[in-house]
């Protein structure tokens, strides 16, 4: 696609439910990144993919968070048993390669846990 696409744009879920956030990167981009932006806090790196593999998952805040990428393209970030502190904007970015100097961001998914 022309840009990084994220869906849904907004998601309201009840505490304890599972949610899936989707990221469709720019076609041909091998690297994909997930960040979390919480109110009053900065942008927090969660995980990145090189192709389908995620070399470093240490940024995921808890074992309730997981992510996968299939076919070297679309990625899903899954949050199980959501908590109110999970409420945030989740941003996805992609770059041509891991060492590319420029990353392109999607518009994010605003997750609200009630």
């Amino acid at each position: 696609g022309a840009g990084v696409s994220q869906s849904p744009s907004n998601k309201v879920t009840e505490k304890g439910k599972d949610v899936e956030l989707r990221c469709d990167p720019i076609s041909g981009h091998t690297a994909l990144y997930w960040y979390r932006q919480s109110l009053g806090q900065g942008l927090e790196f969660l995980i990145y993919f090189q192709g389908n593999s995620a070399p470093d998952k240490s940024g995921l805040p808890s074992d309730r968070f997981s992510a996968e990428r299939t076919g070297g393209s679309v990625s899903t970030l899954t949050i199980q048993r959501t908590q109110q502190e999970d409420s945030a904007v989740y941003l996805c970015a992609s770059s041509l390669e891991v060492w590319s100097p420029e990353a392109f961001f999607g518009q994010g998914t605003r997750l609200t846990v009630v």
Binding site: A31, Y33, Y35, G42, L43, F45, Y48, Q50, P55, D56, G59, V89, L91, A93, S95, V98, W99, S100, P101, E102, A103, F104, F105, G106, Q107, G108, R110
Partner: protein, 117 residues
């Protein structure tokens, strides 16, 4: 540890005037990139300008320019002839190019810029 610090949570500028946003960083690397991103209410992070550390010349993109002081580890953004559309959150960012961390970006805390008509 690599860190990025923006000490100005909020800034305000009159339309058509010039404003400078500050950023300092800490790294032991000698060659790296630095970025300024803009985040309008639409939430999408937009790259404003980037600087390559090995280049002595400060980067310029239209009304946006940087003052890069490598020894001082300072990377400020100057916006000239400010426009209403420049109002946004601005983030300074540094790629954490540590082994096994790819090109992940380390962001500063952000500076909220408002432009007064």
């Amino acid at each position: 540890a690599q860190t990025v610090t923006q000490s100005q949570p909020e800034m305000s500028v009159q339309e058509a005037e010039t404003v400078t946003l500050s950023c300092t960083y800490d790294t032991s690397e000698s060659d790296y990139y630095l970025f300024w991103y803009k985040q309008p209410p639409s939430r999408q992070m937009i790259l404003v300008i980037r600087q390559e550390a090995y280049k002595q010349q400060n980067a310029t993109e239209n009304r946006f320019s940087v003052n890069f002081q490598k020894a001082a580890k300072s990377f400020s953004l100057k916006i000239s002839d400010s426009q209403l559309g420049d109002a946004a959150m601005y983030f300074c960012a540094y790629p954490g190019l540590e082994y096994n961390q790819g090109g992940k970006l380390i962001f500063g805390q952000g500076t909220e810029l408002s432009v007064k008509p």
